[in-house]
């Protein structure tokens, strides 16, 4: 049976109004305001959706793997509710503010510990730091062929076909499995979890590992120099109206051209 490991990060809700966001100038670290809830990182949800679509059509096991300083139980349960067969949460205080190298190291070890797999799916980048580095580190450490910016994956016969989004269109590539793929929002609409599945998920056992369980060590190579919230520019919003989408598009293009932006 096909086995897909999906790595899902939990991040501060990017849709919170920016006004609640603060940076501690001393430690250079973001302060998560009281009461702000975490969400599944957007692109990681796309990766999970892509895995679920494969599972819709064939026998497949999905292991969802999440790593962080604090993993809300409700989100781990949501991974079950969405359709993961096993959810592993690796929670440890030292995972707060890891750099991409340490994260890649930790995930690599966790994936090795899980063992047998055909595919590793990730989001193209996390919704909080948006570095987009971790996947490459993991692929390298595990010596896996990797394909980035995928919107659709079709595994079969020891190989996976991945449709990539590139600047001037799409590109289909084939890779030997096991392989690592990263997904973009072009995956399309993400399914909802049903109340019934949420109910069942609350009864499922979440596998919990510690940092020691995966033999984690930091390999920090990047240090943050400064972090600040920029002054909000004053935005003058202009709404382009038109009878239909074509008309609106033409008017938008004209408005942009008029301002020398196109």
């Amino acid at each position: 049976m096909m086995h897909i490991i999906v790595c899902v990060k939990m991040v501060m809700d990017p849709e919170m109004p920016f006004s609640v966001f603060k940076v501690d100038p001393e430690s250079n670290k973001p302060i998560v305001p009281d009461g702000t809830s975490a969400v599944l990182s957007t692109f990681d949800e796309c990766a999970l959706e892509a895995a679920l679509r494969i599972k819709d059509g064939q026998d497949c096991k999905i292991t969802a793997l999440s790593l962080g300083a604090e993993l809300p139980k409700s989100l781990l349960q949501k991974l079950y509710a969405l359709g993961a067969d096993e959810v592993i949460g690796i929670e440890a205080p030292e995972f707060e503010h890891l750099d991409a190298f340490s994260t890649a190291n930790a995930l690599t070890r966790a994936i090795e510990k899980i063992g047998d797999f055909d595919l590793v799916f990730m989001g193209r980048q996390s919704a909080d730091w948006e570095a987009g580095l971790v996947w490459a580190g993991v692929a390298e450490a595990l010596q896996l062929p990797s394909v980035s910016l995928v919107r659709e994956a079709t595994p079969g016969d020891g190989k996976v076909t991945a449709v990539r989004c590139v600047s001037d269109g799409i590109e289909a590539v084939e890779a030997d499995m096991p392989a690592l793929l990263t997904f973009t929002s072009e995956v399309g609409e993400i399914r909802f979890c049903s109340l019934k599945d949420m109910m069942k998920a609350k009864k499922k056992k979440i596998v919990k590992w510690s940092a020691a369980d995966i033999g984690f060590e930091t390999v920090e190579r990047m240090q943050l120099k400064t972090l600040f919230v920029p002054e909000m520019p004053v935005v003058d919003c202009q709404i382009i109206e038109g009878d239909d989408d074509g008309e609106k598009g033409r008017r938008l293009a004209r408005a942009l051209a008029d301002q020398g932006l196109l």
Binding site: D34, L195, M199
Partner: protein
């Protein structure tokens, strides 16, 4: 009716507010106590009782907004160490009642007893609700954020549960690729804790005529912001209530300012929705409130953190509907258990949830969920502290229906008389009936900005509704049916426009309603920007033609409050 999947639970709470959560947590505690007693003394234990809570917000606390100064009696009864463990901002340290004129503030020499808050706490309701949700989950309650109840399910007259909303439906009502049908949740008893103007509670009250012979429901809307201000500007636990400016003397309401922790201050304005002036814009009045030198000085150099708005029921004792039906109970704001004299409903909501839980425990033991068994709850409630408190304040809001000065006089006399007024019971009319024609108020259908008191917004101290709304974190899936159902769009452009000049475009604190004029045809059209909706329910209450019905949108949509 199409068949939906059915799920059964024992007890279902609709809405994860303080009323429901206190009820659910208390029920779990009481079941636990019962089973312990039974284990040592014999009897029938209650095993595997499933208690579920539906919440339309994306997370518990996302849709909960209040002042708030909270009386902690119920909370302490529920969680004995709450004063140490709950997210309380500060104990009330000092309090002032001010009468404002445009540029002056006169301090009332004494704080009226009903506004005294000794021993109370300044809190953020959103935070407190989140915390209570965590406790309830730990005790074994299953909470489902992101799922709205959209229809009450009946078997004859008995409430047998609720249907949850479909997800993944497009604006025309067609299923999208992600379509996820709602389900029918059946329960032995369903508790409606939807807060103010509950959309299901409203249909239940109407269907069963639970308000027969009661006073009409009447509401206030509160518009508020939380600011971060320079260190030392306001002490945590400082409480200030104001009357007067910017509201006209014939409008019920007033301002509030509470010092929170972390150099934050909560500032807001309450406006009675029985106002008569069709040009009234509660958000604009609130912005004017901040322009008062006293408030402007407080906020200078600070920054806005969060914005929000919500209604609260102020009909009081005589507007409380029947609270028990076969298989169903009403709690909290949905049951009109708000004390308008003290401007407080959190503790009464908690009391009601907990007393409902006591009755539900008895019902579970007797396996009887009939109206007569469940009626134990209203009896307990009205005979208890919360009921007595509401009774004493029974004529308070009605006393203000002729405006501030008259109301202060009557409200004050009532206080001395323990709620008795010259006449026994003061009646109310629905807020949708109180508007006067624009012409009657201003002598013209199109008053000038000066006449209506319009201001310009500077983006530093005062914000437009669009700008403010951004600070509420509100969002909704755009491609879904509009959840603000306008029954008759013709009235909007005819009678309503002619008489009132579209008051919905002003009373909505999120600017959801706009009137567009087509330049070519000179036709007007109502535009409903539902994605901005803060779920405050003002439109459902105040529309002069009862033309707008608020129904829950797709689950998770709405504001994302964390500190209001």
């Amino acid at each position: 009716m199409e068949d939906r999947e059915i799920l059964e639970v024992d007890v279902l709470f609709v809405g994860a507010g303080v009323a429901s959560l206190s009820g659910a947590l208390h029920l779990m505690n009481r079941i636990h106590d019962h089973n312990e007693t039974v284990a040592s003394g014999g009897g029938k234990p209650l095993e595997d009782i499933s208690v579920a809570v539906l919440e339309k917000g994306a997370y518990v606390g996302a849709h909960n907004l209040s002042g708030a100064v909270m009386i902690p009696d119920a909370l302490k009864a529920l969680v004995p160490d709450a004063e140490k463990t709950a997210p309380l901002e500060a104990e009330v340290a000092s309090e002032d009642v001010l009468f404002l004129t445009r540029d002056r503030a006169l301090r009332f020499p004494i704080t009226p007893p009903f506004l005294q808050n000794h021993g109370a706490y300044v809190i953020s309701l959103s935070r407190l609700t989140q915390w209570l949700g965590d406790l309830a989950e730990e005790s074994g309650v299953d909470i489902f954020p992101g799922f709205a109840g959209t229809e009450v399910l009946y078997e004859g007259r008995r409430v047998k549960g609720v249907r949850t909303g479909d997800k993944g439906v497009d604006e025309e009502g067609r299923p999208k690729s992600t379509f996820e049908p709602g389900i029918d949740l059946h329960a032995k008893v369903t508790v409606f804790g939807e807060g103010t103007r509950g959309s299901l509670a409203k249909t239940l009250i109407r269907k069963h005529r639970l308000n027969a012979g009661r006073n009409a429901e009447t509401y206030i809307v509160g518009v508020k912001e939380v600011w971060e201000v320079p260190e030392g500007r306001i002490e945590p636990g400082k409480v200030m209530h104001t009357a007067g400016y910017p509201l006209k003397p014939d409008t019920y309401g007033g301002g509030f300012v509470y010092g929170m922790g972390g150099n934050r201050v909560t500032i807001g304005l309450i406006v009675g929705l029985d106002y008569r002036d069709p040009a009234m814009d509660p958000h604009r009045e609130f912005q004017k409130f901040k322009l008062h030198p006293r408030m402007a000085g407080l906020l200078a150099g600070g920054r806005l953190l969060q914005y929000g708005a919500k209604t609260a029921p102020v009909g009081g004792y005589f507007a409380i509907p029947e609270l028990a039906v076969d298989g169903g109970l009403l709690v909290g704001d949905s049951a009109h258990l708000f004390n308008s004299q003290k401007i407080k409903g959190i503790h009464t909501a908690q009391h009601s949830g907990m007393l409902a839980a006591e009755t539900i425990l008895e019902a579970l033991l007797a396996d009887d969920f009939s109206q007569s068994r469940l009626a134990g709850y209203p009896s307990r409630l009205l005979a208890g502290d919360a009921g007595r408190e509401l009774y004493r304040a029974r004529n308070f809001h009605q006393a203000f229906h002729r405006g501030l000065y008259w109301g202060v006089l009557r409200g004050g006399v009532q206080y001395l008389l323990g709620g008795r007024d010259w006449n026994k019971r003061l009646y109310t009319t629905p807020d949708s009936e109180s508007l006067e024609a624009m012409h009657a108020v201003y002598g013209t259908a199109d008053p000038t900005d000066e006449q209506t008191g319009d201001i310009s917004y500077d983006g530093e101290l005062t914000f437009t509704r669009e700008a403010d709304n951004y600070y509420s974190g509100v969002s909704h899936e755009e491609n879904q049916p509009c959840h603000l159902q306008v029954r008759d769009r013709q009235i909007c452009v005819t009678t309503c426009w002619e008489t009132y000049r579209s008051p919905c475009t002003r009373f909505c604190p999120a600017k959801v309603y706009e009137m567009r004029l087509d330049e070519e045809t000179q036709q007007r059209e109502l535009v409903v920007n539902f994605t901005n909706c803060l779920h405050c329910k003002t439109c459902d209450v105040k529309d002069p033609f009862d033309n707008i019905t608020w129904v829950p949108p797709e689950g998770e949509g709405g504001p994302k409050y964390t500190m209001v």
